[in-house]
């Protein structure tokens, strides 16, 4: 039906990802104003039960061995078919390692426009509008969602995942579809993250370092602060990419999500991919030389100063306060 809002369910190894519920919440919100149906599209093998708590009016379920894990080639073939048959008003994907792999390809194949980085929707004059985040979160772009069909990739933050859940299970339609053939992508295996002695997601106090740390030698200063606080060091992506800290210490979209009591963000700009992983921290104190750094939008306290100047002084004062 032309008004429908489709949501591609993202799941990995038997677990539905949080972005799926954010997308369902967005779809519900839009549907409330239009009379549209929220249709969850679930691809997998033996995966129907995953749909039990979806806040959707109906679930289109495609079951096949080739859909067991996420394989872009297989998903593309099945989704192209489904979207051509149904022509929804909006088809929502996650702006993730799953959704972003396929939304663009579908945009070209179907000739439907694509909007990426969408944080929320709004209805104005009876027309749906997108609000997307670009330039590392520094700029928002708002516009009409083109008709008749538009693909959208969504980022978290605009809706609570809880609003995408329901206590009553939606109707599940097992659909028929042409079997995926000629697949050029296959999944060998999953590789778990390395298990180290520190699980940052369990630590109440985190000292997080970003690009502002400058050089590997400077990390020692941050370590001293973490020690003084009885906390643990973690980092944003650039520091881990340099090989200065292990992947297990990475906070953000591709790393871990953390909710500590205290999060000290040192020399971290606050790009959306990082903030996604730490915005629920109870107390966030941010230090950055750039007063316009997006981290200050999520922190409760901030200081415009070079972390290298602040670190030794802060460590000293904390040791003094503790030592008494």
């Amino acid at each position: 039906m032309e008004n429908d809002i489709f949501v591609l369910v993202e799941h990995l190894r038997g677990e539905v990802s949080e972005i799926t519920y954010v997308m369902l919440a967005a779809a519900r919100d839009l549907a409330a104003e239009t009379d549209a149906r929220v249709v969850a599209v679930l691809l997998g093998q033996g995966a129907e039960k995953l749909a039990n708590d979806f806040a959707a009016d109906v679930v289109l379920y495609a079951d096949h061995e080739a859909l067991k894990g996420f394989i872009s080639d297989a998903y593309l073939q099945v989704l192209e078919n489904i979207l051509q048959d149904h022509s929804p008003r909006i088809a929502i994907f996650g702006d993730t390692s799953i959704g972003a792999d396929i939304a663009g390809c579908l945009s070209v194949k179907l000739g439907s426009p694509l909007v990426s980085g969408c944080r929320s929707f709004t209805m104005e004059d009876g027309k749906p509008k997108f609000i997307s985040q670009i330039y590392g979160g520094k700029i928002m772009a708002k516009g009409e969602v083109p008709s008749p069909t538009c693909l959208v990739t969504m980022i978290p933050g605009g809706y609570k995942p809880e609003s995408g859940k329901s206590t009553s299970s939606p109707e599940i339609n097992s659909i028929t579809f042409p079997e995926p053939t000629g697949l050029r992508v296959s999944l060998n295996q999953y590789v778990e993250p390395e298990i180290t002695d520190v699980d940052i997601s369990k630590e109440p106090v985190l000292v997080a370092i970003g690009r502002g740390i400058g050089r590997e030698d400077n990390i020692e200063l941050a370590e001293e602060l973490a020690d003084a606080l009885g906390g643990v060091l973690c980092a944003s992506r650039p520091v881990v990419d340099q090989g200065w800290l292990s992947t297990s210490r990475m906070v953000g979209k591709s790393g871990k999500s953390v909710k500590p009591s205290i999060y000290l963000a040192m020399g971290i700009s606050g790009a959306p991919e990082h903030v996604e992983g730490m915005s629920d921290s109870e107390l966030i104190i941010a230090v950055n030389t750039d007063p316009a750094a997006p981290i200050f939008d999520v922190a409760q306290y901030g200081a415009e100063i070079d972390l290298l100047d602040l670190l030794p002084v802060l460590t000293e004062k904390i040791e003094a306060a503790k030592g008494g």
Partner: protein, 254 residues
């Protein structure tokens, strides 16, 4: 093995970003452009691959303001050929348009492997890699941080949240969206870049007219209104440190 790396330049986020008078676009007057960070990783991963298996790395970039420096730096890093696409790239050039003109050129080269950055922060219509894959009719895997080649295919590590990886196999020809190179791009001495400027030639190709359909034009661009911005602590390091200690005490950390 010829490895093609299409790259783009994006506004440097270190600079203040201003919206133009129309309110629908960035003010490009004082905008500084830099190589898209993820494309830099794609170049690096291509060079690492080439060093292991032999072949050539060919970087292709639209003629943005400042692109020559970027291309010479790529040569200094070990890229074998650099190609500039002539055309007007002053205004808003979306991913769909870029994918079309790059695809038109790549079709002539018939590449085995294309590496490109998994995303770019200025895009409102998704990453170029996925669009390029549909234009060329070859498979795409994004969020890749490791590539190994074997006969007729490549094995890649695809990243998922929480540090989870999926080892995927992709039949060639293929496009990979690079999240991070196995070893990060290092510092390149200015002397090496100058050497590249003397020795290397930037090939030029004419590109087709830009077709932006598939992307969207925003009706409004603005800086995000923030609910509650952080309470900023003034002063020098002593005053700031003292206030932070106070705040932490209030929260019962001591």
């Amino acid at each position: 093995m010829d490895i093609f790396v299409p790259v783009k330049l994006v506004p440097d986020l270190v600079e203040e970003l201003e919206i133009d008078n129309s309110g629908t676009s960035l003010d490009r007057t004082f905008l500084r452009l830099m190589l898209n960070e993820f494309d830099e990783h794609a170049i690096q991963e291509a060079i690492l691959l080439k060093n292991r298996i032999g072949g050539q790395v060919i970087v292709i970039a639209p003629d943005y303001d400042g692109v020559d420096d970027v291309l010479y730096t790529a040569v200094a890093r070990g890229v074998d050929r650099v190609i500039k696409l002539n055309g007007d790239f002053e205004g808003d050039v979306n991913s769909h348009a870029l994918a079309r003109i790059i695809a038109a050129k790549l079709k002539k080269f018939d590449p085995d492997l294309v590496l490109t950055g998994v995303q770019a922060h200025d895009s409102l219509d998704g990453p170029v890699g996925a669009l390029l894959s549909a234009e060329l009719g070859i498979p795409y895997v994004g969020y890749v941080s490791k590539v190994r080649m074997s006969e007729g295919k490549c094995t890649v590590s695809k990243e998922y949240p929480g540090g989870l990886m999926a080892e995927m196999e992709v039949v060639l020809p293929a496009i990979l969206g690079i999240q991070a190179a196995e070893e990060p791009p290092g510092y390149i001495a200015i002397s090496k870049i100058r050497q590249a400027m003397k020795g290397a030639t930037i090939e030029e190709l004419d590109s087709d007219e830009l077709n932006c359909s598939g992307g969207v034009t925003p009706s409004r661009m603005y800086q995000p209104e923030v609910g509650e911005k952080a309470t900023m602590i003034d002063g020098e390091e002593d005053a700031i440190a003292e206030r932070i200690v106070e705040v932490l005490k209030e929260r019962g950390i001591f």
